[in-house]
Amino acid sequence: MKATYAVTLASAVAAGPALAQDSAADFVPETLTIEETISEGPNVFVMDQAWAGPSKVNVLGAEDFAMKGNMGPGTTAQMVLSADGSTLYTTSVYMERYTYGPVTAVMHEWDVQTLSVRREFEISNRLAHVESQNALLALTADEGYLLAQNATPATSITVVDLGAGAELAEIPTPGCWGAFPAVEGMKFTTICGDGTLASYSFAADGSFGDPAKSEKIFDVDEDALFTNGVRIGSELVFVSFNGNLYFVDDSGEAPVLTGTAALTEGVLGNWAPSGSELIAYNAPTNTAFVLMHSGAYDGSHKDAATEIWSVDMETRTVTGRSPAHHENGLAVTQTEEPVLYGATEEGNVVRYDVAMGDEVSLSMAEEFETAAGFVTLLKLDR
């Protein structure tokens, strides 16, 4: 049996480097260190959301899928990344006894470079306990305010003043869900159960006015909108259960439907969109990517994708269909050559190379197995 010994950092540090001179001439002990920052290069932020205990935001190198570390918010965490990629905001809940007892809702501001908490503070514990989604935690255009979705189940939006480090207002949004910040100003648009979209504005003093409601834009029973849309300039684009795109201009006082486009018309196989973040948009190529499945039926709108369709947003036509890998979420870079990332229902992250052209085709370049994870959301910093 070998001789073995115990070590404590405290004692060893106290003993100091002088001791190294006593050691065997050819042996230099290693030192335990802490990585100060993550390695350079673009990242994929992978939300492994927990419904009990800590959620995890695992950070992967966008090119090589190297694991760079993680951040650990609380239960049912939501996340949003600053435009420069340097700051990740999360909201999550903490229960005093993990599954029971008083609930504290916390806003964390994470420094991405060091994966450490820059600050944290409590926010309204009306915060929704819900699968993480792009529409449920957002930053206003100037990144001065955070918009967090509440549900008790009555719905409202908590406005967090990031400058003041405190909650500014709770804006009731009855019957509506999600918050899409306007291109400028202190304003957001939300999707409502009566088929309208509504825009809410607020002021720096926490006051807010009546919502500006659109005409009826969609039929909740016949062609419901998925919550998580994308922005293209002055318009928000939503996907419907039946595979229609709805283009909504939110630059005026009230949202206005400017057009729709059918993705599946004339396509055999009863295709329909499905998933959560089921649409991603790359601006440089003006191309959207949509998760699709065939043999659609009432209730299949969350099924994993069997194909990813590419859509030219100029002509609003499908320009490519490629095999998927059971994704229920997508994210795409804003680089000239888009790189597409998918979150699979097995908890893996998939990267696709995108070949543009008259026909767009995707090829899976790499898959990262996150094992026991439950990936609900991806964020990119390029």
């Binding site: 419904w51 306990h129 819900v130 008790t152 189940p153 009855p174 999707i191 409502c192 959560s276 209730g299």
Partner: protein, 174 residues
């Protein structure tokens, strides 16, 4: 009629309701309830063998523990029947969610559509071995909250930890 639940939801949260500035929700609680023939916890109802239970009863509880069982048509969660409870009961020591989402499921036995209240049971961790179901017939995003199954319906309880979900047949759809 679809707006009914908004009214219910709003009234759960007085602080919000007060400033909700009355978007049009004018279908009363009573008309909905009478149509649905609803009864809930605390209402004394004789239930032993119901038409929509016949098959499950005949076959034992077996297929009730599978996600394909008819009344689980919009259930996103762990089955309470595999967590120490039953189709309609929360496991011992948990609390029933004060609010719920609703599905409309067709009973293959009689061909009728039933309203199913999916209540979460709360205040405990999930049971490691419980069957997880993920069906979404008629499910809608949070803007139609009462149909939404991606959210923790323990949210209105004192103890909010998610434990499991029951499928309680509370009405005839029509």
């Amino acid at each position: 009629m679809p707006k009914f639940f908004d009214h219910l939801l709003g009234s759960l949260d007085k602080a919000v309701e007060k400033t909700a500035r009355g978007s049009a929700r004018n279908v009363g609680r009573r008309s909905f309830l009478s149509k649905a023939g609803m009864a809930m916890v605390g209402a004394a109802a004789a239930t032993p063998i119901l038409p929509f239970d016949r098959r499950a009863s005949a076959a034992g509880a077996a297929d009730a523990d599978e996600c394909s069982y008819w009344r689980h048509c919009a259930l996103d969660g762990n089955l309470c029947s595999a967590s120490g409870g039953s189709l309609t009961s929360c496991p011992p020591g948990s609390s029933a969610s004060a609010v719920s989402w609703v599905g409309t499921c067709t009973n293959p036995e009689d061909g009728k559509d039933y309203l199913v209240s999916y209540n979460d049971c709360c205040g405990k961790p999930t049971v490691s071995s419980a069957t997880f179901c993920y069906t979404s017939e008629g499910e809608r995003p949070g803007y139609r909250m009462g149909l939404y199954n991606d959210i923790n319906w323990c949210m209105a309880n004192t103890d909010k930890g998610y434990h499991c979900t029951v499928s309680v047949v509370v009405g005839l759809a029509e």
